[in-house]
């Protein structure tokens, strides 16, 4: 078993408005997998699928090699989950919620829990209903990490949190990962945040997985090229063209956004009589945007 999470051809439809279309993704064991996508792209729905909370219309899902939902009980004993919206009981105090949660997990680490509670600055006597968003976010991380999970599933864990809290949360996660070599599946639309910690990235858009590749390839492989003299039709291209358009007022100069670029690929343009004037690195966010743009259907009278 090499993959902590594996989805194959998973599809699901809700009315006419939203659907998952044949999603196939693989999360390697021990990786930190960043799950990117704009709001409404299907990230949370995909997470609920492999968490056993929703049933796909077709396709197969497995976690740690065990089929979902048949072995869900065994799977969830190894999964720490932080949902998009807090799922804790507002009328409880922090201490009560921790005690309740602990009773369901055999591997609960009380010492680690207390340590985290101090580190994250949580008060056991505080009522959850009166906690701020940041404090609630910290509590959810605390609950997930104290279980000593093999897989951490974090659905937009830092959404709406201030930078200080965000840093605390992510550092707690990273510390745990470095100690336990756990797998982390973290979804977010905050690209720059994932850039620092993830080693794999999957990109969702409109219910489809439009890209899944190592973070290094994602960061380094998407480039903006300024090309002059390029032919109308490009064939046998060694890289993936995400988009190309003529620069305004610059004659034959075009801007190409490409993926999987490597330096020797310049020679392709020599072969077609074109010249690469510039190769510009894109940061993750720019690359993400271009990737999404390329995956969406172009307007009929597009630029």
């Amino acid at each position: 078993m090499n993959n902590a999470i594996e989805l194959s051809g998973v599809g699901w439809k809700a009315g006419k408005s939203f659907a998952l279309h044949d999603v196939s993704l693989r999360v390697p064991v021990g990786s930190i997998y960043g799950f990117l996508g704009p709001n409404g792209s299907g990230k949370t729905t995909t997470i609920r699928m492999f968490m056993g909370m929703m049933k796909p219309d077709h396709g197969t899902i497995s976690v740690f090699g065990r089929p979902v939902p048949r072995d869900m009980k065994q799977i969830l004993a190894r999964v720490g989950y932080v949902p998009e919206r807090p799922h804790v009981y507002p009328a409880l105090t922090v201490g009560e919620q921790v005690r309740v949660h602990a009773s369901f997990y055999e591997l609960w680490d009380r010492g680690w829990c207390n340590e985290l509670m101090d580190r994250l600055g949580l008060d056991p006597g505080q009522k959850i209903a009166r906690m701020s968003k940041g404090e609630t976010g910290k509590l959810l991380i605390l609950l997930a990490l104290s279980q000593r999970p093999d897989l951490l599933v974090l659905d937009e864990p830092t959404d709406g949190l201030d930078p200080v809290v965000r840093r605390d949360v992510l550092s707690a996660v990273l510390d745990y990962v470095s100690e336990k070599s756990a797998t982390v599946f973290i979804s977010s639309h905050l690209v720059h945040e994932l850039e620092r910690i993830c080693d794999w990235v999957g990109v969702m858009d409109h219910g489809r997985l439009v890209a899944e590749l190592p973070m290094q390839h994602f960061k380094n492989g998407i480039k903006r090229l300024r090309v002059s003299g390029a032919p109308e039709t490009a064939s046998d291209v060694p890289f993936t063209i995400l988009s190309r358009h003529r620069d305004n007022g610059s004659g034959s100069v075009e801007t190409w956004i490409v993926r999987d670029w490597e330096a020797p690929m310049r020679y392709y343009f020599d072969g077609v009589g074109a010249t690469v004037r510039d190769v510009i690195d894109l940061d993750l966010e720019e690359g993400f945007v271009e990737l999404l743009r390329a995956s969406r259907p172009q307007p009929k009278n597009g630029s």
Partner: protein, 398 residues
């Protein structure tokens, strides 16, 4: 106003009009003579004529009223006759046992079937009843009400169509029983005075047991314990006197004091407050006894058991006596209740009372008799509901 009087009044009025008619017709304004018109013609009238005319004028409102009343009366009689005719055309008259039953045409079969069932079950042994002979039972069991007109001695058994069958049968039984109870009263029998209400209605022996078991009287306790002579005393079969001796037989001194305490306080107002206190606080039973016996003139019945209990004994005696028992009960109106019951049942009073007591004890309510089965059933349903709750799958969204 009756028709004849109205017609008579009209005739008199017409005559009066006729008498004054000539002058009235000659009045310049026309119509009936008016005082002014009368005064125009009055100059030619004699004083006697003028007086008559004035009298006639005063009678006009009365005439009009009479005419209206007559019209209303005629219309009402016509309507009643029409309805009676309509009803007569849509009802059947049946004979069941000793009963005469009137029922809407479409109900004849069900009426006959139900009433026959009830009669055979409870009253088949009764061969003669003056009240039944002159009563008409109106039976109707549907939502389509037919106006049935019978004379005043009609005994209705009428229900909406949605009423359940057992309830209808029970009502039939009670209606027949009520008619038969009238036999006792019309004959002026002593036994009729001894009971009241409807002795042959459907008995609720569990409720009767409760009454007997909860009476605060030494004779009722002895009766339940098996002493049939105590039953006779408790049921007031031996005597109708209510002197201190009788009260002492029925109640202990403490129980007699309890009767006084339970009695309406305002009737004790004739006694001094210290005396009342002495009785109520239990220091002087003699004062309580004086209260009780002084109320004799108010005809308060201190009997331990109410007429509703006595009715069950009468019903039992009739049942035990078989064919002719009811007729034997009515034979001698002056017979004391105990003797009448013996004569009707064909048994001695002790035998009768023993049988009655045994039947009563059989009907002792078992308050929580259903507890074990209903609790078990609740457990079964709880498990079923639990299974339904657990049946729902993990899939919660979508």
């Amino acid at each position: 106003m009756c028709r004849r009087s109205a017609l008579g009044l009209v005739a008199v009025t017409v005559a009066l009009f006729g008498a004054a008619g000539v002058e009235a017709r000659q009045a310049p304004s026309g119509g009936a003579a008016t005082p002014q018109a009368s005064s125009v013609g009055a100059s030619t009238m004699t004083p006697e004529q003028a007086r008559l005319l004035e009298k006639l004028d005063s009678l006009r409102p009365l005439v009009a009223e009479a005419q209206v009343a007559l019209d209303v009366r005629i219309a009402r009689d016509l309507e009643a006759t029409r309805r009676a005719a309509a009803a007569a055309a849509r009802v059947d008259t049946l004979g069941v046992g000793l009963l005469t039953v009137v029922t809407p045409t479409g109900q004849a079969d069900i009426a006959r079937a139900l009433i026959t069932e009830v009669w055979n079950e409870h009253f088949a042994l009764i061969e003669r009843s003056p009240t039944l002979a002159e009563s008409i039972f109106v039976f109707e069991w549907s939502d389509a009400r037919v106006p049935i007109h019978v004379e005043s001695n009609a005994r209705p058994v009428q229900f909406r169509g949605s009423t359940q069958r057992p309830r209808v049968k029970s009502a039939i039984r009670n209606a027949i029983g009520a008619a038969l109870a009238h036999d006792l009263r019309r004959a002026g029998t002593q036994v009729g005075l001894w009971v009241s209400g409807n002795p042959l209605q459907e008995p609720n022996l569990e409720a009767i047991y409760r009454v007997v078991a909860t009476r605060r009287s030494q004779v009722t306790r002895a009766c339940l314990a098996g002493d049939v002579s105590a039953c006779a005393s408790a049921l007031s079969l031996g005597t109708r006197r209510q002197d201190l001796a009788q009260l002492s037989e029925w109640y202990t001194p403490e129980e007699r004091r309890a009767l006084v305490v339970a009695w309406r306080p305002e009737l004790m107002s004739r006694f001094d407050r210290p005396e009342r206190t002495r009785c109520v606080e239990g220091r002087d039973h003699a004062v309580c006894d004086e209260f009780l016996t002084s109320f004799g003139s108010m005809r308060r019945d201190w009997s331990p058991l109410p007429p509703s209990v006595r009715e069950t004994l009468l019903a039992y005696a009739v049942e035990r006596g078989g064919p002719g028992a009811w007729e034997r009960l009515l034979e001698d109106p002056d017979m004391e209740p105990g003797q009448a019951l013996e004569h009707a049942s064909g048994s001695t009073l002790p035998e009768l009372l023993a049988g009655w007591r045994a039947r009563l004890v059989e009907h002792r309510p078992e308050t929580f008799e259903d507890l074990a089965p209903s609790t078990g059933l609740s457990l079964v349903w709880t498990i079923l509901f639990a299974a339904l709750a657990m049946r729902s799958t993990r899939w919660r969204f979508g």
